[in-house]
Every structure is written in structure tokens, then in C-alpha cells.
């Protein structure tokens, strides 16, 4: 728990504890590096003030070794902190495979969250403690940034690109959740609460929460409504690549490249199909970018991913 002048900031994860430790240790180093400067300036300004009779003979005007040492030694000390800090940063980008996957859509000016079971909430996010969580975030309009100070974490959400944020909250409680990237008129009020609960309470909350259909079921419905199946179903008259089991596989494109069909690939293939055309097919799919929003796209991707599981 950090706090000054009535404001406090809890440490809601082990990552938060590490960041606070790093910041405190580095602040201590800055004191060590600067205190001599401030003290010496004061001492010299008083001792050598004009008009005071004092020994000023043999004043040095250069000293290579002294200058090299006060350039190099602080830098080496700082490098130690750089390595410590980079390791913490790298750990953030190593998501746990068993993570609870939450879909997030940001738009002017709200945060929409959807749990794997289909439970939706706006500007509030309920999560279980001690459970790795992975947020997959998309933006409907401009750049937003999900910021939870208690977790010492933030991640920008750039339109057109999925962003992920992985963490494990360890301490149940209610924490601020903000938009940190300036996003227009109501930026300052685009936020809400992160509610970390004991796993048992979270399970109970899921039972009470407003439950829509699961993302995959919603995607299956859209898949028929939008007419995707007319071409992508096996044996259809218009040739289109089959989607069953495509998720996570390598795809060969007309330009010869073979990207992995991850969420970002599927997102772009639905919204901007002509950007990458699968080898052996013609670019005949309509552009869906102006027809469906990020939530619907996420649902479709969930359905395509589910098709993979069905085939197994």
C-alpha cells in the first residue's frame, strides 16, 4: 500500500509489489546520485562566495579521470535497474495458458466486458482472485488505454489491432479502472471499477449476472444471419475456404506468405478480406468493416475457434 496526503494505492498483485520495490529502490539511487551535487553546490556557493577571503589557489579546470568516472559509474548502476525492470516487463508478456479469457471492447466513452460464459458488463469488471486472467481488447473508434493503477498495469487499445493484457490479481477489493489514453470529450469520465472477488464469490456472481448467449453461440447465429455459411459451408456453390479447424493453423496466401490464423488474422480476414486472399481462391468476399462492429467480430471469431474444437 502506497499513500501520500490522504490518497492511497493498494498493491493488488505480486506484479504491483515488484514495481513498487523497483520504484523505491531506484528513487534511493537517485538520492545517492544527486545529494552530493545539491550539497556541494550549497557548500561551494557559501564557502567561495565573492568577497570571502578563502584559499582559491590551484583551481582545477579539467580532470579526465574524474569526468569519465562520474559519467560511467552512475550509468553502470542504472544499467542494473534497467535489467531488473526489463525482466518484470518481459514477464508481463508471458500469458498463462490456463488464463480466464475476457473480451473487452472500448468505445467513446465506455468499456464493455464479456466473460467466457457470456455474462456482460459495462464499466465494471468482476474477476476472481488468484486466477490468471487474459484480456483481449479491441477498440471501436479511437485509441483508448485500459489502466488499473492497483495492478500497476495499462495497455493501449489501438483500433484495428487486438491488444492483450495478462495479470493475476491476488487481493480481493474494489479498484479504479480508467482510460489512460486521451480519447475525446468524455475521456475523463471513461472509467469504472475492477472488482476482484474470492473465487467462490465470483462463481456466485456469474450465476446472478446478466447472461446473454456465449460469444461462440452469438457468433454461430451471426454466421448464419450474415450469410457466411452460404459460401464457407462445405459443398457450397461459391468456392470459399473451409473455416472448420482453421484457427491456429498456417494459411497459404496468394502472395506466397503463410501467416498463422490467429485472432488478429481472422479479425482482418472478416473485416478487410481483400488484404489477404487465400491461395487458390478469388477475392470475392464483401468487406464487412462497415457492416459489423468489434463485438460481433469477436463473436464470429469465437465461433470459428469453436469449430476447431468441434472437429477434434
Amino acid at each position: 500500500m502506497m499513500g501520500w496526503f490522504g490518497a492511497t494505492l493498494p498493491e493488488a498483485s505480486s506484479h504491483a509489489v515488484r514495481v513498487d520495490l523497483l520504484a523505491a529502490a531506484f528513487s534511493a539511487l537517485t538520492v545517492v546520485l544527486t545529494l552530493p551535487v545539491f550539497v556541494l553546490i550549497l557548500v561551494f556557493a557559501i564557502r567561495y562566495r565573492r568577497g570571502k577571503a578563502v584559499n582559491r589557489e590551484h583551481a582545477p579546470d579539467r580532470n579526465i579521470w574524474l569526468e569519465v568516472s562520474w559519467s560511467v559509474i552512475p550509468f553502470v548502476l542504472i544499467l542494473g535497474f534497467f535489467i531488473f525492470s526489463a525482466r518484470i516487463f518481459f514477464d508481463l508478456h508471458r500469458p498463462s495458458p490456463s488464463a480466464l479469457s475476457i473480451n473487452v471492447v472500448a468505445r467513446q466513452w465506455m468499456w464493455k466486458f464479456q466473460h467466457p460464459g457470456g455474462q456482460r458488463e459495462i464499466n465494471e469488471l468482476h474477476l476472481p482472485a488468484d486466477q490468471p486472467v487474459s484480456l483481449t481488447m479491441a477498440s471501436q473508434d479511437v485509441i483508448h488505454s485500459l489502466y488499473v493503477p492497483a495492478l500497476r498495469l495499462k495497455q493501449d487499445v489501438v483500433p484495428g489491432q487486438y491488444a492483450t493484457l495478462s495479470f493475476t490479481a491476488t487481493r480481493p477489493g474494489i479498484y479504479h479502472l480508467h482510460c489512460a489514453e486521451y480519447c475525446g470529450s468524455d475521456h475523463a469520465v471513461m472509467g469504472g471499477r475492477l472488482i476482484v472477488m474470492a473465487p467462490r464469490d465470483y462463481a456466485a456472481w456469474l450465476g446472478h449476472a446478466d447472461r446473454a448467449t456465449t460469444p461462440a453461440a452469438a457468433g454461430a447465429k451471426l454466421y448464419r444471419q450474415l450469410g457466411c455459411s452460404a459460401c464457407h459451408a462445405q459443398g457450397s456453390s461459391v468456392p470459399a475456404p473451409s473455416l472448420a479447424g482453421i484457427s491456429g493453423r498456417r494459411v497459404r496466401l496468394t502472395d506466397g506468405s503463410t501467416p498463422i490464423a490467429d485472432r488478429q488474422y481472422l479479425h482482418d480476414a472478416i473485416l478487410y478480406p481483400n488484404r489477404h486472399v487465400v491461395a487458390g481462391y478469388r477475392p470475392v468476399m464483401p468487406v464487412y468493416a462497415r457492416l459489423i462492429d468489434e463485438e460481433q467480430t469477436t463473436a464470429l471469431i469465437a465461433w470459428i475457434e469453436a469449430m476447431k474444437e468441434e472437429r477434434r
Partner: protein, 555 residues
């Protein structure tokens, strides 16, 4: 002058100072008093005065926006301004302060005035280009004010896409046009300085004899010429996207919003050094003159300016650690950002060493220089914290960043600007100001500044996002501290305006060299004559060749 070089001007006067001294009668100021004589001048000294007047005006316009912001932040609710009104206030504050005050402040006032005098030249290499750059600056400035006040722009000074393109409210395109125009003023100034330093040095003024102020301005000019065109290109690309629908930054047109951030910071990070390097040059002069001593490690200080300018071009990615940039790229940018600390630290340690065994005058200019060192050190070290990846993920886009860059750009650049004003005022206008009031305002500004911005470090670390006027109530105490500091700071900035103006008419006449400083600018009368030097000076001494023995020394 007396032995201590101070106290002289505080004594009650028996006789009023003369209306016009002989030096003034033959100075550049006496060249003409009509408006026309100022508006068509090509004299670098007069152009510098034109800049001094116009940047001061823009500073107070930007300060009014800051006052609105600090008033609004006294309470956690958004009660003084609407959401839109607050966004417009901080956009106006940022745009005006950065492009119309900070970037032109020291280079265009003191660089213009002093560069030719310091290297023994008659004028800058291209006097007409110099006047043109002022006209471009003023035109762009007035245009910006018109746009910001009538149409309103709420994108922040960073103009991130697609907020500034597809989703823009207000007159964003017009504001971008104004920034595009003012860029040309920077480019012309940069070219002028580079050519002047290369071609117009007096006989004997070798590179190793250049004042450190000139080294710093040379490094600044390199950045002005190399970085500003990138901003110009970026703004043209936005215009192409808006007007012709060519997809560059907008994802729905196939563009990449992050490309804008890369291009923007490739200019805007070096732009920070455009604001800070001249300040570093000023402080090197102030410290040496106050201590009456050769600067410690001349070459380390000179080359550190060039090193800052060069490394400054390779650190822009540290603004994008949480943007979705590759984590390997972020790690490299983090390392390079820490590297900039080395030349910056060299300067601070060398200034401190310069004071050792000096003969230090505790006058207003020196107090401003010392204030600069304190604030610059805090700003620089908080910059190192921001360069640490794990810390930045937490404090990026919070008040920690706001505090950091105000320490560098206000605590640093503005304090050094005021130090320069107090140091060279007698040279520019031939009159001494009241030393006591100078010291009081230096102290007020140092205290007010720290009270305003130090609480913002705490706010930021506790998780207060920037650009929020509605905030969690627990942050109110720190915000009230910060706003009351801003009030003191405002007083500190207002004071010099009064006693400096007063000195123009009532101040004692300044001698050619009131501080007993070295440098060619102190060999000519105060204020200097139109032609600067009676005859071309020959430089035979090393820079800062203060006497090795002081009268009051013992031992």
C-alpha cells in the same frame, strides 16, 4: 564597479539616472523608434527584441489556459469547465507553450541577439531570412490563436490519430496548418545558425574557443533542421488522408495509427532537446560568469551538447511502451533513453566542479542558474524512471509524466530563459534592474514551481491519469497543493515583468561589462551599436580566461 560586483544597484540613489546615455544614443535601439523601423529591420538584435515581445505575449496566453486548468482541478468534480472546455484549455496550453513559446524562446531571443556578438560577427549569415522567420512565426501564432479561440481544438497538443483525423471535433485541420507553418520558422532559424557558426567566426575564434552557449545553439540548430521536416511531412500526410482519402493512419482505410505516433515522436522527442539544449548553453555561461572561473572540462561540456542532440534522435519509442509496440523494440528504446543521461549528467557534475574554488556572486542570474540545476536534475532523474519499462507501464499517461516534462521544460527551459534575461538584460537594453527583486523572483519561482509540480509526481504514482478534470476525491489534497503552488509561480513570473520594465526608464546605466564576464559580447557598449564591433575583433585567448588569482584569495 566595486570589488564584489553586487550591492551597487540596491543603494538609494542621489540623482535620477539619465534619460539617455551616450551608449544608448549610438546603439541599435536609437536606430529608429517608429514601428516601421522595427518591422522592416534586418538587425539580429532588433529581431531578437521582436521575438522577446512576441514570445512573452504567447507565454502569458498559455499561462491563462494553465490558470484555468489549475482552478478547475481544485475540486474533484468538473464544475468550472465543461468536458469539452477543459479539453480545449489543455490543448491551447500545450500548443501555445510548446510551439509558440518554448521552441522559439531561448534560440530566437538570445541566440539571435548573442550568436553574432559572441563569435565577433556583424550579423547572422542571412539577416532577411531571420526577419522572415519572425513573420512566419507571428502569422502562424495569430492564426493558431484565432483557430483555438473561435473553432476550438480538443485533440491535445499530440494530435494522435484517428482522434485528430476521423473523429476530430473543431478546427483540427486549421490548427495543424498553423503548426505546419511555424515549422518553417524553425527550419529557417536552424539553417541561419549553422551557416553563421561555420562562416562568420572572427579571426582567431576557433571551434575550441567558442562559448558553450554557441556550442549548445549549434547542436540545437542541427535538430531544428533535421527533425522539423519530419513533422512537416507528417502533417502533409494527415492532410492527404483527410482531403484525398489516402489511407495512411486510419485503420478503416488500411492505415496504421501507430505510424503517426512514430513520426510524431521522431520530431517531438528531439523537440524536447530543442527546448533544453539552449537552456544548458545558457547555464554554462551563467555558472562560469558567476564563479569568475574557467568552466570545468570545456570539451566534455561542449561535446555533451552534440551527444544529446545525436542520441536524442534514437529514443522516440520510449513514448510508446504501452502502445502495442514490439517488446524488443521497447527494450532497445529503454536502453537508449538511459544513455542520454550520461551527457546530461556530465554537464551537471561539471557545473558543480566549476564552482569549486570560484569567486561566486550570489546574484539573480546565478540563483536562476542554480534553480535550473536543481529542477533539471529532478526532471532528468524522473525521466530515467519513465525510461524503466516496468515503471512506465504504470505511470505512462499519468501526472508523473506531466510532472516530469514540466520539470524539464518549465523548471529547466523557462528558468534558464529567465536566467538569461537577468544576465543579458543590461547588455540588451543598457540598464540595470533591481537586484533584490531579481533574487526574490528567483526564489519565488523555485518554491512555487516545486509546490506546483512535486505533488504531481505523487499524484501520478498513485494513479491519477493526465487530461482528467474529474478525478477520484482522494486526490484532492494533492491537487489543492499543486494549484496553490501555481498561484505562487504565477506571482514569480509576473514580478520580473514589472521591475524589468521599470528598469528601462529608471534603471542605472549599465557598463559594457557589468558582471566582469569574459566573451566578446561584453567588449562592446551596452546596448551594442548597430554594427556590433568598431573593428573586426581578433580572438587570442581561450574561452572563459578569467584571472587565475583573485584579490581576496589567501594561501
Amino acid at each position: 564597479m566595486n570589488a564584489s560586483g553586487e550591492g551597487l544597484h540596491d543603494a538609494p540613489r542621489e540623482v535620477d539616472p539619465p534619460r539617455r546615455t551616450p551608449a544608448e544614443a549610438s546603439s541599435y535601439i536609437a536606430d529608429g523608434y517608429s514601428l516601421r523601423s522595427w518591422f522592416v529591420t534586418t538587425d539580429h538584435k532588433r529581431v531578437a527584441v521582436l521575438y522577446l515581445v512576441s514570445i512573452t505575449a504567447f507565454f502569458f496566453i498559455g499561462a491563462c489556459a494553465a490558470a484555468l486548468i489549475r482552478l478547475e482541478l481544485l475540486t474533484p468534480a468538473g464544475d468550472l469547465l465543461t468536458n469539452e472546455g477543459y479539453n480545449r484549455a489543455f490543448t491551447l496550453h500545450g500548443v501555445v507553450m510548446i510551439w509558440f513559446f518554448l521552441i522559439p524562446s531561448i534560440p530566437n531571443v538570445f541566440g539571435n541577439f548573442l550568436l553574432p556578438l559572441m563569435i565577433g560577427a556583424r550579423d547572422l549569415a542571412f539577416p532577411r531570412l531571420n526577419l522572415l522567420s519572425w513573420y512566419i512565426y507571428v502569422f502562424a501564432g495569430l492564426f493558431t490563436l484565432y483557430v483555438l479561440l473561435t473553432g476550438g481544438v480538443d485533440t491535445g497538443w499530440t494530435f494522435y490519430t484517428p482522434l485528430s483525423s476521423t473523429y476530430a471535433n473543431g478546427h483540427v485541420m486549421a490548427a495543424l496548418t498553423a503548426v505546419f507553418i511555424v515549422g518553417w520558422s524553425s527550419i529557417l532559424t536552424g539553417i541561419n545558425f549553422i551557416v553563421t557558426v561555420h562562416k562568420l567566426r572572427a579571426p582567431g575564434m576557433t571551434w575550441g574557443r567558442l562559448p558553450l552557449f554557441v556550442w549548445a545553439h549549434y547542436a540545437t540548430a542541427l535538430i531544428l533542421v533535421l527533425a522539423t521536416p519530419v513533422l512537416t511531412i507528417t502533417l502533409i500526410l494527415i492532410a492527404l488522408e483527410r482531403l484525398l482519402g489516402i489511407g495512411i493512419f486510419d485503420p478503416s482505410l488500411g492505415g496504421d495509427p501507430l505510424l503517426f505516433q512514430h513520426l510524431f515522436w521522431f520530431y517531438s522527442h528531439p523537440a524536447v532537446y530543442i527546448m533544453v539544449l539552449p537552456a544548458l548553453g545558457v547555464v554554462s555561461e551563467l555558472v562560469a560568469a558567476a564563479a569568475r572561473k574557467k568552466i570545468f572540462g570545456y570539451w566534455f561540456v561542449a561535446y555533451s551538447s552534440i551527444a544529446i542532440a545525436v542520441i536524442g534522435f534514437f529514443v522516440w519509442g520510449h513514448h510508446m511502451f504501452v502502445s502495442g509496440q514490439s517488446m524488443y523494440a521497447s527494450t532497445i528504446f529503454s536502453f537508449l533513453s538511459l544513455l542520454v543521461a550520461v551527457p546530461s549528467a556530465i554537464k551537471v557534475y561539471n557545473w558543480t566542479a566549476t564552482l569549486y574554488k570560484g569567486s561566486i556572486a550570489l546574484n539573480a542570474a546565478f540563483l536562476f542558474a542554480m534553480g535550473f540545476i536543481g529542477l533539471f536534475v529532478l526532471g532528468g532523474l524522473s525521466g530515467l524512471m519513465l525510461a524503466m519499462l516496468a515503471i512506465d507501464v504504470h505511470v505512462h499517461d499519468t501526472y508523473f509524466v506531466v510532472a516530469h516534462f514540466h520539470y524539464i521544460m518549465v523548471g529547466g527551459a523557462v528558468t534558464a530563459f529567465l536566467g538569461a534575461v537577468h544576465f543579458w538584460w543590461p547588455k540588451m537594453f543598457g540598464r540595470m534592474y533591481n537586484e533584490t527583486w531579481g533574487r526574490i523572483s528567483a526564489a519565488l519561482i523555485f518554491l512555487g514551481f516545486n509546490l506546483t509540480f512535486f505533488p504531481q509526481f505523487l499524484l501520478g504514482y498513485l494513479g491519477m491519469p493526465r487530461r482528467y478534470h474529474v478525478y477520484p476525491p482522494e486526490f484532492q489534497a494533492l491537487h489543492v497543493l499543486s494549484s496553490s503552488g501555481a498561484f505562487i509561480l504565477g506571482l514569480g513570473y509576473g514580478l520580473p515583468l514589472i521591475y524589468l520594465f521599470y528598469s528601462l526608464r529608471h534603471g542605472d546605466p549599465a557598463e559594457p561589462n557589468p558582471w566582469g564576464a569574459t566573451g566578446l559580447e561584453w567588449t562592446v557598449p551596452s546596448p551594442p551599436p548597430t554594427h556590433n564591433f568598431e573593428e573586426v575583433p581578433r580572438v587570442e585567448n581561450e574561452p572563459y580566461d578569467y584571472a587565475l588569482r583573485h584579490d581576496e584569495s589567501i594561501g
